[in-house]
């Protein structure tokens, strides 16, 4: 069992969990992910690692409370245990040898973008960051991003914080302003990563995206996470999660990610109903 040593609501629906997992903490690298199960009936959910503390032996994840599993997870408190927590899975992000990069994060994806950005920074690159959220009440990690990047653009869909508009607009401006990036690194909703890739393609800037498709085991066994990249079938769990954004078949990836959306919606409602009944 894996004990939650710290739970912090960064925003009402965005929660950080620091979990005791010394073996994973010892090995984790930015860009890698874990798979957790909340309880015995739980599904196996892949979540990218937000942070790790090798000395304390803990691994942190940040989750947005959007479905049945995250609702269940959010019911746990400090001192409670997760049924399963396994990793670190996938390949680490390649951050060495870059002079100047721009990291683009979307929503809760910023939780994952941050360790990658910090690693770029620590490895000596000049780092710019563009992070986007739906609205002011969902903005997370602003101070941390600020500390590790020389330019930070914050965008919100409704203009309630930072600039109003999409991350792709801000990114385009930075490129047009003459910034010569060795690489763009995008993490967030699939649709955002798709349009970041579309934005950078005409400029020929190498663009890496971090994919988190549906998967079960995370070790290459099920093939559920397969993607079409440059016409080849790849498994996100072992070949990724990072891929060349210009080569990913986005339409297929987006559709595959919605395979169980009806089930997920139903399960979420069922879980919420159950919890509200218990509360009565």
């Amino acid at each position: 069992m894996f004990r939650i040593v710290r739970k912090e609501a960064l925003k009402p629906t965005v929660v950080l969990f620091e979990v005791e997992a010394p073996m994973i903490a010892k090995k984790a690298q930015p860009g890698q992910f874990i798979i957790l199960r909340v309880d015995e009936n739980g599904e196996r959910v892949p979540l990218t690692i937000h942070d790790y503390d090798r000395e304390k032996g803990t691994v942190s994840i940040i989750v947005q409370i959007v479905g049945a599993t995250t609702e269940k997870l959010n019911r746990l408190n400090e001192g409670d245990c997760l049924q399963d927590f396994v990793g670190p899975l996938g390949k680490a992000t390649e951050t060495e040898g870059k002079k100047k990069v721009c990291v683009v994060g979307g929503g809760v994806g910023c939780a994952i973008a941050y360790p990658v950005l910090k690693k770029f920074h620590d490895d000596g690159a000049e780092v710019h960051a563009v992070i986007g959220f739906k609205s002011a009440d969902l903005v997370i990690l602003e101070d941390k991003f600020k500390a590790a990047s020389s330019i930070l653009e914050i965008c919100t869909d409704d203009g309630s914080y930072g600039r109003k508009g999409l991350v792709t607009d801000a990114l385009k401006e930075l490129i047009e302003a003459g910034n010569q990036y060795d690489e763009i690194f995008a993490i967030g909703p699939m649709i955002m990563m798709k349009f970041v890739s579309k934005t950078t393609e005409p400029y020929g800037i190498p663009t890496t995206v971090s994919m988190s498709p549906i998967m079960i085991d995370g070790t290459g066994m099920c093939g559920g996470c397969r993607l079409s990249v440059g016409g080849e079938t790849k498994f996100a769990c072992v070949d990724g999660p990072d891929f060349d954004g210009h080569k990913v078949d986005w339409d297929l990836a987006v559709k595959r990610s919605r395979m169980y959306s009806d089930f997920e919606k139903h399960k979420h409602e069922e879980t919420c109903n159950l919890f509200s009944k218990e509360a009565e």
């Binding site: 073996m23 994973i24 090995k27 199960r37 009936n41 739980g42 599904e43 196996r44 049945a68 599993t69 269940k72 049924q83 399963d84 927590f85 396994v86 990793g87 670190p88 899975l89 079960i216 085991d217 995370g218 070790t219 290459g220 066994m221 099920c222 093939g223 559920g224 397969r226 993607l227 079409s228 079938t233 072992v238 078949d249 339409d251 297929l252 559709k255 595959r256 395979m259 169980y260 089930f263 997920e264 399960k267």
Partner: protein, 460 residues
């Protein structure tokens, strides 16, 4: 007097039209009367051809003689001398191509139901014997076993009985490997696998689930930092193969591994499970092996019309005869001599059909089976909303890629000598990770061989 009936005592089974809607075990096992009657069919031959057909050389006539005398526990003890998982093997071994193939009674009539008797004895023991075996005195040596499938469980069990301090590392959240994620409940109840795992724990074996060797910890770290003196790799053949045809990534196309894992490991068919599974109307399962039969029979239980699409004929199906028969009884339709060429989808990328080409059988190929040849211009579309690929699996490259100096062949299978030793000192391997996808009993045999070699090395 031996029982000279030419027929085996038939195996009681659930009615096909009932069982194809539930996940309870299909075959119910012999009663004591049936077992006594069947055991009396054994002639107790002097030269014991059946034993030569068993990969772990179970003393077959001896255990059957005890059954015939009603000494069921004594029979169990004879099997347990050479086999670690009798309740499993009695259910999933291909006896027809092993022990029973060589049975003298099979020359005229049906062979003795050796597998059925093995299962009876193992179940009898599990239901009636409650003495836990004494825990052996520790010998102070530490051994790591990677993977908790049949090879790993066997190796761990044999070493633990000799007093080794054994830790089994499992990547998934449950121990059992293919016995829990692959083989369905209705063929092998998971309670039986759990009993075997609990038995190992009672012997002092530590089972570390949620540990991916190659990621969470490497073989080098196990040996250099954690003090394991020897390692046995029994990581299986977990990597699914897909066909290189257009449309393979559409929604509704699954590897048999994924489909079966959702059902068997994650219990996605139960309302309490948070794991989703699709409920297709019409399924094409591509392939003709035991895994294809399992996927087809699971699809049937989800309420679908199910078709097996296989490029050779009924005679060439690699699945066990019993599995094919059970699938047919349950209403699975066999479309043999068809090969998929493309998967078609609707505008939302949901599978809508599988395009196949008709085949005919030509000359025998290297495997001795007649090779299928396409009939030009015979393409047709079969409307389905789900395609399951059951084309075989290969070893997972994770351990190879994180263990320097571990030699594998061009198929990715770990190279070992006759004792199971790999190219790395003190690192042994066995089961599907070495042979590619094969049977439970062969994996078990490999686990035993390696356990013996590890014991010889460490007790020097």
């Amino acid at each position: 007097m031996p029982n000279m009936s030419l027929k085996k005592n038939p195996m009681p089974a659930q009615d096909p039209n009932v069982r194809n809607k539930n996940y309870e075990e299909v075959t119910l096992g012999y009663t004591e009367e049936m077992a006594l009657d069947e055991a009396k069919r054994c002639l107790n031959c002097k030269n014991k051809p059946c034993v030569g057909g068993c990969p772990v050389m179970i003393h077959i006539p001896e255990f059957i003689a005890e059954v015939a005398n009603g000494n069921f526990e004594a029979a169990y003890q004879i099997i347990a001398k050479t086999s670690s998982l009798p309740a499993v093997c009695g259910r999933v071994c291909p006896q027809e191509s092993q022990c029973e193939k060589y049975c003298v009674r099979g020359i005229k009539g049906e062979p003795v139901g050796i597998g059925r008797l093995e299962r009876f004895v193992a179940d009898w023991h599990n239901n009636n014997a409650c003495d836990a075996p004494p825990r052996p005195a520790p010998n102070g040596h530490k051994v790591a076993v990677i993977g908790s499938g049949p090879a790993g469980l066997t190796c761990a069990g044999d070493l633990a009985k000799k007093g080794y301090d054994v830790t089994v590392f499992e990547a998934l959240h449950l121990a059992g490997g293919v016995l829990v994620y692959g083989i369905p409940e209705f063929r092998l109840p998971k309670a039986i696998v759990q009993k075997e795992v609990d038995g190992l724990k009672a012997l002092g074996v530590t089972v570390a689930t949620d540990t991916v060797v190659g990621r969470t910890i490497s073989i080098d770290e196990l040996m250099e930092e954690e003090g394991f003196e020897a390692v046995f790799i029994g990581s299986g053949a977990g990597l699914p193969m897909f066909m290189s045809i257009p449309g393979i990534n559409y929604k509704g196309v699954f590897s048999a591994n994924e489909f079966l894992t959702r059902i068997n490991l994650m219990k996605a068919y139960l309302p309490d499970s948070d794991t989703p599974i699709i409920h297709p109307k019409k399924v094409a399962v591509v392939g003709g092996g035991n895994v294809a039969m399992d996927a087809a029979r699971c699809s049937k239980r989800l309420g679908a019309e199910v078709h097996i699409v296989y490029r050779r004929g009924m005679e060439e199906l690699p699945a066990r005869h019993e599995e094919v028969e059970h699938a047919e009884e349950e209403g699975v339709i066999f479309n043999t001599l068809n090969n998929p060429v493309e998967i078609l989808a609707d505008e939302d990328d949901n599978v809508r059909a599988i395009r196949c080409i008709k085949m005919e059988l030509g000359e025998p190929d290297a495997s001795g089976r007649r090779s299928p040849v396409e009939i030009a211009g015979s393409e047709f579309d079969m409307e389905v909303d789900c395609v399951i690929m059951a084309l075989g699996t290969s070893p997972n490259p994770l351990i190879k890629s994180t263990t320097e100096g571990l030699e594998v062949n061009r198929k990715g299978c770990i190279v070992v000598n006759e004792e199971g030793l790999t190219s790395r000192p003190s690192v042994y391997a066995g089961g599907d990770a070495v042979t590619g996808a094969a049977t439970v009993i062969l994996a078990m045999g490999a686990g035993k061989t390696a356990a013996k070699a590890i014991d010889e090395q460490l007790s020097k």
